[in-house]
């Protein structure tokens, strides 16, 4: 019998995440004939389940008031209780999936694969797929033995969404099989909202964004100068915030702000998927980087292979002359 495939549905404020539509297409690449079962865990999730049933023929609901807060440890226990042996479960590779899946695979005694961006096919339990390594600078084909089951984390946005909305699926309440759902050794306290900064980069039309290529805090001046000349706002990638050179509210990326400018100037930014995940609305992207192999050059509209420390002042000077 073919292995059963499950999709773990992430949801927020009563809505399934976009990845819910993507996981079913990822599952089809493992087994195009499989009936994929969606699993929704949470509190007051009927609307989410009904929405998901438009994409998945079968939806398992695990609903309890105690599940209103995210807790990967509790979710893991539930999944271990409800999942059949040797199954395959697909999970979005987001901050919750990263918390959940490695440990889940241990408890299910199955194979774990992180952050999968493509699946080539499955030959008798030997799954071939693609991942990225070295911050996206190179990709790797992987071969995974999934014959005894697998927990596979799928990068959001990597598979096309199934927007047919035609499954007409049924929701089955599995809450009774969930087992003990009380928090034990790890207890959720609260979510602290990100602090607002002096500039709201999510509203900016033009962003001059700076990355590791700036090398030193003192050099940031050239970025501020260019932004001033272009009447743009300054944003940045993660290493600049890690170094405390700019405030967190200026960070673009999945762990920072989601921006939607018309023009995005990526200055000394390599273009990791976490960074690019924070850029929406298909802006015109200009990349300047001294590393010709930087992934940003695959994603930008126009690129210059140059050291930003030399190039940016030249550009600023000419813009100021206009």
């Amino acid at each position: 019998m073919a292995q059963q495939i499950f999709a773990y549905i992430g949801h927020n404020n009563g809505q399934a995440e976009d990845s819910a539509l993507e996981l079913i297409n990822a599952a089809a690449k493992i087994d195009s004939t499989a009936a994929v079962t969606a699993i929704v865990v949470g509190s007051g999730i009927d609307a989410v389940c009904d929405a998901v049933a438009k994409t998945y023929k079968e939806v398992w609901k695990i609903d309890a008031a105690a599940l209103s807060n995210p807790n990967a440890e509790v979710t893991r226990k539930i999944l271990v209780n409800v999942l059949p042996a040797d199954c395959i479960i697909l999970i979005p590779h987001d901050t919750f999936g990263m918390d959940l899946s490695p440990g889940l695979s241990v408890k299910l005694d199955s194979t774990f694969v992180a952050d999968v961006v493509d699946i080539e096919g499955n030959e008798g339990g030997n799954l071939k797929l693609s991942r990225q390594e070295y911050s996206g600078m190179v990709s790797a084909h992987m071969e995974c033995d999934i014959s005894q089951g697998a927990a596979i984390n799928i990068r959001p946005g990597s598979f096309a969404p199934d927007e047919s909305q035609s499954a007409g699926g049924t929701v089955t309440d599995k809450s009774g099989d969930a087992g003990d759902i009380a928090e034990s050794t790890r207890r959720f306290l609260e979510v602290l909202e990100a602090e607002a900064g002096d500039v709201d980069i999510t509203k900016s039309d033009v962003l001059v964004s700076v990355g590791r290529g700036i090398e030193d805090e003192d050099n940031l001046e050239i970025i501020h100068d260019l932004a001033k000349a272009m009447k743009a706002d300054v944003s940045c990638s993660r290493p600049i915030v890690d170094a405390k050179w700019l405030e967190k509210s200026r960070q673009v990326g999945t762990s920072g702000q989601t921006v939607k400018p018309n023009v995005y100037m990526a200055m000394g930014i390599s273009g990791s998927f976490q960074h690019m995940g924070g850029i929406k609305g298909s802006p015109y992207i200009v990349a300047v980087n001294k590393n010709s192999k930087a992934p940003i050059f695959q994603l930008a509209d126009v690129g210059v292979e140059a050291d930003i420390l030399e190039f940016v002042p030249e550009l600023t000077e000419k813009v100021e002359e206009l």
Partner: protein, 263 residues
């Protein structure tokens, strides 16, 4: 508080362009600059700060070979008290579960209150911490960007979640945490500091020392294997501007004007 930090020596992506070798079997290793994995370095700094506040010791451990010893010394120069090198030919080719089970065997030889890893390393999987915790039945939190020690039984840990928000949790000790960059500002390690620890003895533990069945780890035990490296075709890519700097700047200004970047 007895703290163990698992570290890894990796090619330094800020110092190297990572390229694929001619047959795609590996990255080009000639002339690579290696350093301690950036996330691990934040974890060690955090461990040192906790020890300095509440007492105890910091041990750094890596699974590798004699070349990897240098990152242990670097982290000891930073302030870690002890280093352990776990090394055995049988460990080569281990997947994430293999590495986690090797570390588990080492951890069970000691008594640690807090075990830390970096949130991810060169392969970007971010898996060893979570696996290790589950294997040892310890609580776990990933992407940790703040730690407050409440008492010797529990801590308060913040996790970095989407949108720059922070998820706060109370976690019982002992536990495993994977540490996100930016949690602190790792101190600088100078050449003098490295010299100071140059002659400190670092014990080497192999499969038999740890009671590990060699067939369960290494390449034979691995269920996840890399076939090759490749460069993905991500579409057309950027139009690269070439010529003198003046020519490039002029062209870019024209493009920016037409796209609304300069009004």
């Amino acid at each position: 508080m007895e703290i163990l930090v698992c570290v890894k020596r990796v090619p330094d992506t800020s110092e190297n362009e990572i390229e694929i070798n001619s047959d795609g079997s590996d990255i080009e290793r000639d002339d690579l600059v290696y350093s301690v994995n950036e996330w691990d370095n934040y974890a060690v700094e955090e461990a040192i700060q906790i020890r300095d506040n509440v007492g105890g010791s910091v041990t750094v451990v890596t699974v590798g070979d004699e070349e990897d010893e240098e990152v242990l010394r670097r982290e000891m120069a930073m302030g870690a008290d002890n280093g352990i090198l776990i090394s055995d030919d049988a460990f080569e080719g281990s997947d994430g579960k293999g590495i986690a089970s090797i570390l588990k065997a080492e951890i069970e030889k000691g008594k640690y209150d807090l075990i830390m890893t970096g949130a991810q390393a060169d392969a970007g999987a971010g898996q060893v911490g979570g696996m290790l915790a589950a294997m040892m039945d310890l609580p776990y939190a990933s992407l940790v960007n703040s730690i407050d020690i409440i008492d010797d039984k529990k801590i308060k840990a913040g996790r970095e979640v989407e949108g720059g928000n922070q998820e706060m949790n109370e976690i019982d000790l002992p536990c495993v945490l994977s540490i996100q960059t930016g949690i602190n500002e790792p101190r600088y390690v100078g050449i003098r500091g490295i010299r100071k620890v140059a002659s400190v003895e670092i014990p080497v533990h192999g499969a038999s020392d740890l009671g590990i069945d060699a067939s369960s780890v290494g390449e034979n035990g691995a269920k996840v294997k890399r076939l090759d490296y490749y460069l993905p075709d991500l579409g057309e890519g950027a139009e690269m501007l070439e010529g003198s700097t003046d020519e490039i700047v002029e062209k870019m200004i024209e493009l920016l004007k037409s796209k609304g970047g300069i009004k």
